[in-house]
C-alpha cells in the first residue's frame, strides 16, 4: 500500500485514532510511513537541513503520534491526506529537532552587529522556487529543472505553481489543485490549466533540446 489518496482505509484508521486507539496509530505507521517520511523530508528540505535516516525515522513516529492527537479534527472530505493537512504541525516537529542541531549563538558577534542584515539561507526559502535556486549549484537535477523553467519562459507565478503542484502530487495529495489554489489565491480550474500548459512547454523543451532530455525521466513530467 503506497498511501496515496484519502481512501476508506485511511479514513477508518484516522477515525480509530480519534477514538484513542494506539493500535490504529501503529496501523497508520505500518501502511503510510513512506508518504509521511516524504512529508518530513520536504519540511527538512525547506529548512536546508539534512538528517540521517535514524533521525528522520524518529520524526516519522513523532508525526504519527501528533496525528493521533489531532485525528478528530481531520476529515476525508477535505481531500488532503492527514500529513498534508497537518504539514504546519510537521514543520513544528521538525523545528524541534533541527533546533537541536543549530550552532550556538555567537554572543560576541551578535553584540557587534547593530543592524543585522537579512539572513541568507535555507530558513529564508519562501517558496520551492527559492529552495530550487539555492540547491541548484550543487545538485545537477535541480539545476536542470531551474534552467528548464527559465528556458521555457515560465512566469514566476507559473514556476511556483508547477513546483508546488508537482510536490503535492508526489506527496500523495489527491487534490493538488485545491491546495495550490489556496496557496496562490487562484481558482482550481486555473491552477490545473496553468499546470497543464507549463508541463506541455517543459515536455516540448525536453523533446527539442537534447540538453533538457533528462527532464522526461523526472516525475515532474511523468
Amino acid at each position: 500500500m503506497d498511501g496515496q489518496g484519502c481512501d476508506g482505509d485511511l479514513a477508518e484508521i484516522m477515525a480509530r485514532m480519534a477514538e484513542g486507539d494506539d493500535a490504529a496509530m501503529v496501523t497508520l505507521y505500518e501502511r503510510y510511513r513512506t508518504p509521511i517520511a516524504g512529508a518530513v523530508q520536504r519540511e527538512l528540505r525547506h529548512r536546508g537541513v539534512r538528517l540521517g535516516r535514524d533521525e528522520v525515522g524518529g520524526l516519522v513516529i513523532d508525526v504519527c503520534l501528533e496525528l493521533r492527537s489531532i485525528a478528530g479534527a481531520w476529515s476525508p472530505e477535505g481531500g488532503a491526506t492527514p500529513w498534508v493537512w497537518a504539514r504546519h504541525r510537521i514543520g513544528n516537529l521538525v523545528d524541534r529537532v533541527v533546533g537541536q542541531h543549530a550552532a550556538a549563538l555567537d554572543e560576541a558577534r551578535l553584540a557587534a552587529v547593530e543592524a543585522p542584515e537579512p539572513a541568507v539561507g535555507a530558513a529564508d526559502d519562501r517558496s520551492l522556487v527559492d529552495a530550487l535556486a539555492r540547491v541548484a549549484p550543487d545538485l545537477e537535477s535541480a539545476r536542470l529543472v531551474a534552467e528548464a523553467l527559465e528556458a521555457a519562459r515560465l512566469s514566476p507565478r507559473d514556476r511556483e505553481l508547477v513546483l508546488e503542484y508537482a510536490y503535492e502530487k508526489q506527496a500523495g495529495n489527491p487534490a493538488p489543485a485545491t491546495t495550490v489554489a489556496a496557496q496562490l489565491g487562484m481558482k482550481e480550474a486555473t491552477v490545473r490549466q496553468a499546470f497543464r500548459r507549463a508541463v506541455q512547454r517543459l515536455r516540448r523543451l525536453a523533446a527539442e533540446d537534447e540538453r533538457f532530455a533528462p527532464l522526461a525521466e523526472l516525475p515532474l513530467l511523468a
Partner: protein, 113 residues
Amino acid sequence: MSARSRRAAARARHPTARTWPPDRARLLRVLAERAAGRGARWPRVAAAVIALRGVAGDDRPTFAARVGIPLDRLERLEEGREPPAAVPPALRAVRGVVDWAWVDAGPPAGPPG
C-alpha cells in the same frame, strides 16, 4: 529500450518509489513509554500486543477473535495488566514484529494496581 521502459526504470530508481523501512524497535519503545505513562504494570507487554494488533489493522473484537482469546483478556494485555508469561502463544508465534526477548526482560513498572 523504449521511452516508456526508460521512464518506468527511472521511476523505479527514484527515491519516491522506495518504501521507508520500519523501525519497529523504536515504535515499541514509544508505545511502552506511553503505556507506562498510563500506569501499565507491564508496559512492554502492552506495547507488544498493541503493535501486533496495529500491524494486523484490527479493532479489538476482531483481533481477539483472530487470536482466539476473550476480549477482556486482550484488553488486560493491552493495558499492561498481564505479565509476559500471559501472552498467548498465537501472538508469540508472530515473527518479525516484536522482539520477545525485550518484552520478557521488561521489569514490572510498579506495584500491581
